[in-house]
């Protein structure tokens, strides 16, 4: 699935700025928990940080399973891109 470059840049900016991850490690195949060393508490904060970065709301209960299933950075890109698409279609 093609993801907008701006989505990738925004997600990477969040991970770099708020989770202090070296940008060199921000590759789509990176595993969030094993390679980037995030944990379940970080996952909670990541959702909030993505909301701020992309000025959108994420329904934690509705998307609970999707968020739980995310494993790679590519999964985050895809999730955010989908949410941005929903936001655009709702507002449009």
């Amino acid at each position: 699935m093609m993801v907008r470059a701006s989505t990738e840049q925004g997600v990477n900016a969040v991970l770099s700025r708020e989770f202090e991850i070296d940008e060199a490690n921000l590759v789509p195949t990176a595993n969030l928990y094993e390679d980037l060393e995030l944990d379940s508490l970080d996952a909670v904060d990541l959702v909030a940080a993505l909301e701020r970065q992309f000025q959108m709301k994420i329904d934690r209960h509705k998307d609970e399973e999707t968020i739980r299933q995310m494993r790679t950075l590519a999964d985050v890109y895809g999730f955010v891109d989908t949410k941005l698409g929903e936001k655009t279609s709702q507002s449009g």
């Binding site: 989770f19 202090e20 508490l41 970080d42 909670v44 904060d45 909030a48 701020r52």
Partner: protein, 415 residues
């Protein structure tokens, strides 16, 4: 036979800046660290009128703390961890010892993470939206936040004990530490306290009538322990940690001993929440002497808790006078750096040991006219250079918590 407890290291962040050296040099030089924060510091909150404070002005470098440890630390936790690290380094205690189970942590604060708590309640009550509250916010405000965060960041696997006892927290931690060491449960306990300086903290002291409110543009006059014109205390900020260690443990690893903890005592006033009485304070002082196997004449100087409140200072002076008579040398360090609350007992303990080592007494700052109701001891009003054998350190906290410690020089094992 009682296991002897020694001090092998300490660290501090105070209104004088980062490091125990800044603390010691600041007091020795008599520098003033209380500031006029301006009316805007009160943030337009009605009903509060204290705008003096003694925050840590120096920027704190927290970059050395791993993110996964740092994220759960309130400001007080950050300060406490940096002080604990300095104490470990000064004591030459390797991190492996922290992980051995033989090292414990006892830390307390009056208010746990007030800035973090304020942030949470702004989201919860004002914005009615907790979706942006950090997942680690709770770990910054739980009652044992300081102790738990320091232990986690050090990888300490021994006893972790929170010692919130309001303004006596940092001294109470040492009572706990000495108890653990004497019981043979720990070889080393990192003991101390921390406190953040926020407008809300000052407001709380103002509400209970314990804050200075008449000298907002004269930080050179308040707080003024034992002074005729004293009108309350001024809240300060900081953290201090002492590495208390079993004497045998220190000897076995060839550690440098800075001083001895000869006696400790803690009791409760058993009635008054805000104003401990003369009797319970004096009883605590006598209990600390008994614990050390000493008589009043064995003490050369009493480092008072005296915070500059009208009632607290006179009560303490009366208690010291009752135990020691009118000739005991007494001073308080609150005039210099304000009242660092949970940190004060540990900050002043560090200074007690430094005064023993250096042979000097730091005077009470801002004491211009000794109040009649405090004139029952010998107030030290200028730096005195004199050999000291032993110092009694008093700390008293809201809730009727009395704590008294007796320190001796490194070559003084006393009983």
């Amino acid at each position: 036979m009682t296991v002897k407890t020694v001090v092998t290291g300490y660290g501090a962040i105070s209104p004088y800046g980062v490091g125990a050296d800044a603390l010691v040099n600041g007091f020795r030089a008599g520098h003033a660290a209380v500031r006029a924060m301006g009316d805007e510091w009160r943030q337009g909150v009605r009903g509060t009128s204290c705008s003096l404070a003694a925050p840590v002005m120096e920027e704190i470098d927290t970059g050395s703390i791993p993110r996964k440890n740092r994220r759960s630390m309130a400001r007080s936790g950050l300060l406490a961890f940096l002080a604990a690290g300095e104490a470990l380094a000064a004591a030459d205690i390797p991190l492996e010892m922290a992980k051995s189970g033989r090292l414990g942590v006892a830390l307390g604060e009056t208010l746990t993470g007030p800035a973090s708590l304020e942030q949470f309640f702004r989201s919860y009550l004002v914005e009615r939206d907790v979706s942006q509250v950090p997942a680690n916010g709770f770990f910054q405000v739980m009652g044992h936040s300081c102790a738990a965060n320091v232990a986690a960041a050090l990888g300490a696997t021994g006893r972790v004990q929170a010692t919130p006892g309001a303004c006596a927290s940092g001294a109470l931690a040492q009572v706990v530490g000495v108890g653990l060491i004497r019981a043979g449960l720990q070889d080393v306990v990192l003991c101390g306290g921390a406190e953040e300086c926020t407008p809300a903290t000052s407001a709380i002291f103002d509400i209970v009538g314990a804050a200075s409110t008449h000298f907002n543009d004269r930080p050179d006059l308040a707080p003024a322990p034992f002074d005729r014109d004293r009108d309350g205390t001024v809240c300060g900020e900081g953290a201090a940690v002492l590495a208390l260690e079993a004497a045998d443990s220190a000897a076995a690893r060839g550690a440098r001993v800075l001083g001895n903890v000869l006696g400790v005592a803690s009791n409760c006033d058993g009635g008054k929440m805000a104003h401990p009485g003369v009797e319970s304070m004096a009883a605590c002082m006598r209990a600390a002497l008994a614990d050390a196997g000493l008589q009043p004449e064995d003490i050369d100087y009493v480092n008072a808790h005296a915070t500059g409140t009208v009632e607290g200072d006179s009560t303490e002076a009366a208690a010291i006078g009752a135990v020691f008579g009118p000739h005991m040398a007494v001073s308080s360090l609150k005039g210099h750096i304000g009242h660092t609350l949970g940190a004060s007992g540990a900050i002043e303990s560090i200074m007690a040991i430094e005064m023993l080592r250096g042979g000097y007494i730091v005077p009470t700052a801002k004491l211009r006219h000794v109040s009649d109701d405090c004139a029952v001891v010998r107030h030290v009003r200028a730096l005195e250079v004199t050999p000291l054998r032993r110092i009694m350190k008093c700390s008293f906290g809201f809730g009727g918590i009395n704590v008294v410690l007796v320190f001796g020089r490194m070559d003084d094992g006393a009983s």
